[in-house]
């Protein structure tokens, strides 16, 4: 017999071994009330749960391909597996949680909301970031936060080469080693408000085994904000 909680909260289920991604997305676009949705057998499919615009709680039981939760608004999408390229690209709001690892361009140009990756993220994590926050429990590859404009990238592990290349106003926090900083990216003082921001993001990401005081902060030196020929060697 169902518990009272289950009766109150109906769960819709999709099996992508049977249902198409299009059927899933169109159903999620039709219902603007949100609710709990379970997606089974994603099979590495692309564009799973994209363009959501309501407070859904989507649980994806397995690995997904490109652009999972792309342009997400309001919804919480949890992937119990790994993600292909561009998870949560251009996210506007909501939360996307990847329990495994993510391929390149995770959170590309995301403007709001929170992306949490419990494993590692590949190259260009947070590329062109425009206001969202990203927390990576593991490490990230090269060119992390390339041309990132706003928002924060918190990396609990290490960062690859050319971190923060051509960075604008996004804040980068790395706990481990940084293989190299990109053009115009410099280490900056970790003040109290920064530690507080890291602590708050780790709490929202439900990462509770990492100490916010162990992070170092990186940001833009703002030397390349306006073109000047004296900076030619940096371009």
């Amino acid at each position: 017999m169902a518990t009272p909680e289950v009766i109150r909260e109906a769960v819709r289920s999709f099996d992508l071994a049977v249902d198409s991604v299009r059927e899933l997305n169109q159903a999620l676009h039709r219902d603007l009330d949100g609710g709990r949705v379970v997606v089974r057998n994603p099979g590495g499919g692309h564009a799973v749960a994209v363009g959501l615009d309501a407070p859904f709680e989507v649980e994806i039981e397995g690995h997904v391909g490109y652009y999972c939760a792309g342009m997400n608004k309001l919804a919480t999408v949890r992937v119990r597996g790994n993600c292909g390229v561009g998870v949560a690209e251009n996210m506007m709001s909501g939360v996307v949680v990847v329990e495994g690892s993510a391929s390149q361009s995770a959170g590309a140009s995301a403007r709001g909301g929170l992306l949490v990756i419990h494993g590692d993220a590949s190259a260009r994590c947070g590329i062109s970031l425009k206001g969202a926050d990203i927390v990576v429990r593991g490490s990230i590859g090269h060119m992390g936060a390339f041309m990132a404009q706003k928002g924060a990238l918190v990396v609990c592990g290490d960062a690859g080469e050319s971190l923060g290349d051509s960075l604008y106003e996004a804040r980068l926090y790395v706990r481990g080693s940084v293989a190299g900083l990109g053009a115009d990216c410099v280490e900056k003082e970790m003040r109290r408000e920064h530690a507080e921001q890291v602590r708050e993001l780790l709490a929202r990401a439900e990462v509770d085994d990492v100490d916010a005081s162990e992070f170092r902060r990186y940001g833009s030196a703002r030397r390349l904000y306006n073109f000047h020929v004296d900076n030619l060697g940096s371009y």
Binding site: V21, G51, D53, Y67, V85, M92, R111, M147, Y225, N226
Partner: protein, 445 residues
Amino acid sequence: MAAVSNGWHPGLRESATFDRGAIAEIQRAAREGMYDIRGFGAKRPVPHFDDLLFLGASVSRYPLEGYRERCGTDVLIGARHAREPVKLDIPITIAGMSFGALSGPAKEALGRGATEVGTSTTTGDGGMTAEEREHSRELVYQLLPSRYGMNPDDLRRADAIEVVVGQGAKPGGGGMLLGQKISDRVAEMRDLPIGIDQRSACRHPDWTGPDDLEIKIEELREITDWRIPIYVKVGASRTYYDVALAVKAGADAIVLDGMQGGTAATQDVFIEHVGIPILAAIPQAVESLVELGMHREVQLIVSGGIRSGADVAKALALGADAVSIGTAALIALGDNAPEHDAEYRAIGSAAGYYDDYQAGRDPAGISTQEPDLAARLDPVEGGRRLANYLRTMTLEAQTLARACGKSHLHNLEPEDLVALTIEAAAMARVPLAGTTWIPGLVASP
């Protein structure tokens, strides 16, 4: 020998290689240590539609009566996959130009003019403004590498999506909106601080190459429930291959921009030395589409130097489904107008020469974010001028089509054309006038 009053005398000989323009540019570069950034498109002479002529009807073909016998101009774009393709009354669309590069009133005027004659306009780098959505019946929303202002709500409000891979003025290049044009509103739309140079990336942040593009298009279709068409815009360079790959990736329409296509701010060296003329690109695109069995299934929209109904008719005769105008539309609004000549001269230019769109000091109030300058353009009057111009071009194209005996602009064909020069004959793949010779093609036995 005595010099005449303007300083020139017959003994002076200008170098063809180091002409006055080349000398001035060397001197400027030596003085400033910086390449020249400007707007407008390529200014060098290249083979163009002027090098083609129509063969009017005579004994072997019969014409249609002007003003009496109908010559259709409508076009349907994007029916390959979309439930709601774009239906246009005329095959002349307004190209993507950003709010930021252009003022708010200029964007509104473009929407008003296009809507009045039943065609589409296009957003640009920087997102969709409320003004242009409100005043554009058909609005194409660009997905650009910078993703400035990209918003799924706007995506769902659009009538079509245009994935911009490149543009004719700078195939392979990104963009730059210089700090002087970054007003509070532009900065907010682009999520960047006020007053800094805004670089627009040359590659998309989340896809690279044709296989990724196919998946990106799939995502955009899923987000918009397969309702609206998805165009892919490329700058003309390796056109045969680019078109084939875009079609394979699932594009509903190809937007092909030749090297004469305009820009708001690009290095002069890029504008003048990268890409190929639209005349050379159209036949490559058509060949690609025909080989894939997709000609007229995937629509071809061409741009880059379209000025008149003759250019429209010739582009369509070569196999395009529609054309797009940018620079010409701005001129119709009032860009480079003689009444601003004194002010153009005050900032080192002149009416007919002005190309400093990057500087934001446009006396016509078009390529600026200065409120006082922008207020000079009345969007209602600008829209009316644009509509007049679009109607004129359409009438001109119909006139030429009727002369060739065609009851629809899309019935024009390469067989209606000849070339005035060997170069144009080779590029456009039509015979040199008075001959059967198409250079580069093996003559049939």
